[in-house]
Symmetry: C2
Subunit: 458 residues, 2 copies
């Protein structure tokens, strides 16, 4: 049997196209309506998807005049979906820059318990200047400084998850022994950025750790992914860069002492599906006609660190000089580079560039019949561009409903995708192991830390 | 029709008695099993309770050897319960000392949206030394310093909830107007302890603000409650202090410019219910026989700032000199005073004091037939000790099941409690108004803040 692929549903407003909220095939539910998200998760679950994913943005700006923004908070959304679904994995973004590690560790542990081992954490360092201003910072931390903290942060939260051995809870009512205090341990972390005593106040998650997901593509982001990530979301306008990225990431994983098979690479794919290729193309056209340039401009500006683009003419060809050097930008460097490469190669008008980015913000967009979409997917998978796909329907829920009804069966017929769930945890679905406990399972772990620090009582 | 009372279920492990987890009528489910909490919420909902409440402790100590500790995180639990219940309010503790205000504001807003307006926040400043050590602090902040921060914190989070006017979302697909940018506003908070730009990234909660609950009883805690709280949980071993507390709190509310009816006072009540009074008393006896002194000692020590009590004999009478002066304790001062008053008056042995506190940690405990329990409740309500009760079953779920089946109908027959839900929000159930929007509804609010600060884009 050949290896099969993985499918993740990336939920974004009423669809990934920035004008999706205006389209006639989009949901009309408020973005704060949990029933809408439950519905999406259940459709994806009926299509045997591995997981559903909620990104996050820690600020909202004036682009909401014309853009659907301001939905539910991801972790509380996951907890609600955990009781409304049975099989599908539940992944949310959370920031290492703006959440106390103790809070993040326990909330993800809690969601992993509530869902019976279906939680995943998309680790981001946050790149919006406007987010920094919501957390007391005058200035966004520099790119490398954010990653330096993220490395230490991961060390802290994984130790917190490990602070209860899997067998710590004894729960022997007759003898009055609730837990073995030798199997619950302080982490006593005192590093450059964080001081955390531990132990965590919740037992080790069913999966050991929630699935660790990452999406950074800069050199520092890739180094982080190669060290820690088990699944990687990545944005590529074209197959060639996706192949190159996957190859580079696996090489870096090997350098970091890991197996190249220990990371699942999932490029984004935003498919417009139609009865004919022409009908599918028409969806993109309809959506582009619904865009409002201010939204795209605000987004593009933020990608380049807030640069002013208001003097540019929408219908004149761009040159690379119109945008700042990505290396000088303290934001999402790799995405800025991707955009600049496109500008250099194609010299699009600003309007045309905004349309391209409106589709899926730099991820691969495509249009075709279900057969054509399935062929693209099979091709990327076979040439090593992908272990699976981050499915980004341009319009929701219709684009998902169509994908599940028409594309998934073709992938199943090709033997490329599961026909039923055969694992009960998210790690199981992705074919990834449950991590060993660093504080208890490893040979030199025993006795390395004091049992408890501080005078604890609850 | 006479005013009716309010009932809140306080969930605590497998019951409020510290040895409940060992009792034959307690649940045997792990404390991380969401099905257990869903079950409790549904039983309370079948009894028409106003709300269910989850406290929180940001640390776990060596007492877990003999005490059931380490359950789910409260906010993720509320989100899960929101989709598993229909009517009952959902209240959780969260700390102003250890959560970023932007994170807390949006997670509670999210739960309020997910539940359709049923969220409540029990505001605490956290008093455990061991919690401070999990958040980078070498030392717990002083009592008054914690409250000074809490006042500013409340100002920030209420402004964040108010940063979207109720009519901000227009969602006009035809014209491409998603939100009115003049109705979404920066909060531009720059205070002594917090700097938060805003706006929040989620629309105003259905309730305006989640219900604001508080449980501080020290002078500074009462001042905070009188200023901000809409419902107050309070611990009294006896009716007289409860009456005095309610009277004092209402007077302070009036001083703060509020109506005395604007606060619901809910003392804790831990009832053992039996076919006869003797049978009911036997439950307390059985539970006390299951206690392990180490657990009670750790708890008592923490209440007095971590003082060493190990030299005391369990079976000798205590005097006030055996415990430190509560005014010197940077923890939960009012509870320490309550305990000291009991010691002065009754000179109990340490073992007997531990038994009293094991029942419900300083809350009122009682035992009797359903009729006797209902009479106690009616009496406290009629003399002004309570607007309602924080019901703390000694053993769960059996103590709740009995209360709903046998005590609630008696309260309903007396006309003291609702027979069905007649409001759809938690504020509605407590008979409390939806707060005005400070940034948009008040006469001098318009134009007082810049629309947006920073370059926002999501």
């Amino acid at each position: 049997m050949p290896a099969t692929m993985h499918l993740n549903l990336f939920v974004h407003g009423r669809g990934h196209h920035e004008a999706a909220w205006r389209h006639s095939r989009a949901s009309t539910a408020p973005l704060t309506d949990i029933a809408y998200y439950v519905d999406l998760a259940l459709i994806a679950e009926s299509g045997k998807f591995d997981s559903v994913f909620f990104a996050d943005h820690l600020a909202v700006g004036s682009e909401i005049a014309h853009a659907a923004r301001g939905g539910l908070e991801p972790l509380t959304t996951l907890a609600a979906l955990a009781v409304a679904t049975e099989h599908i994995g539940l992944i949310a973004t959370a920031s290492t820059s703006y959440t106390e590690p103790y809070n993040l560790a326990r909330q993800f542990a809690s969601v992993d318990h509530i869902s019976g081992g279906r939680a995943g954490w998309n680790i981001v360092t946050s790149w919006l200047q406007s987010a920094a201003a919501n957390y007391g910072d005058q200035q966004l931390l520099g790119h490398d400084e954010r990653y330096a903290r993220a490395f230490e942060y991961l060390d802290v939260v994984t130790k917190l998850w490990d602070s209860w051995a899997d067998d710590a809870r004894i729960d022997d009512a007759a003898y009055g022994i609730y837990a073995d205090p030798a199997r619950v341990r302080a982490v006593a972390h005192a590093g450059e950025h964080y001081r955390v005593a531990g132990p965590l106040n919740i037992p080790r998650p069913p999966q050991g750790y929630p699935l660790l997901v990452q999406a950074g593509s800069s050199p520092e982001g890739r180094r982080f992914a190669a060290t820690h990530a088990e699944a990687v979301f990545t944005a590529h306008l074209e197959k060639a860069t996706a192949v190159e990225f996957a190859r580079d990431l696996r090489a870096r994983a090997v350098e970091a002492g890991r197996s190249p098979e220990s990371i699942r690479v999932l490029p984004g794919l935003s498919p417009a599906i139609g009865g004919t290729e022409h009908e599918a193309q028409r969806l993109w056209q309809e959506l582009n006609e619904l865009t409002v340039p201010e939204v795209g401009l605000a987004h593009l500006s933020a990608r380049f660190g807030g640069v002013d683009l208001s003097h540019l003419d929408l219908d004149e060809r761009l040159s690379a000089d119109d945008l700042p050097d990505p290396r000088t930008v303290q934001a999402a460097q790799s995405r800025a580079e991707l955009i600049l490469r496109l500008v250099r190669r194609e010299r699009p008008t600003l309007r045309s560039l905004l349309h391209t980015l409106a589709g899926a913000r730099g991820h691969h967009i495509t249009a075709g019949t279900p057969e054509q979409i399935a062929d693209v997917i099979a091709d990327w998978f076979h040439v090593g561009a992908a272990d699976g796909f981050n499915i980004m329907p341009p319009v929701l829920p219709s684009g998902l409903t169509d994908f599940v009804a028409e594309v998934v069966p073709l992938l199943q017929q090709k033997g490329l995708f599961r026909t039923d769930y055969s694992a009960s945890t998210l790690r199981g679905l992705y074919g990834l192991p449950r991590p060993a406990n660093r504080l208890f399972d490893e040979p030199d772990a025993a006795g390395s830390e004091p049992l408890f620090s501080g005078s604890g009582s609850a």
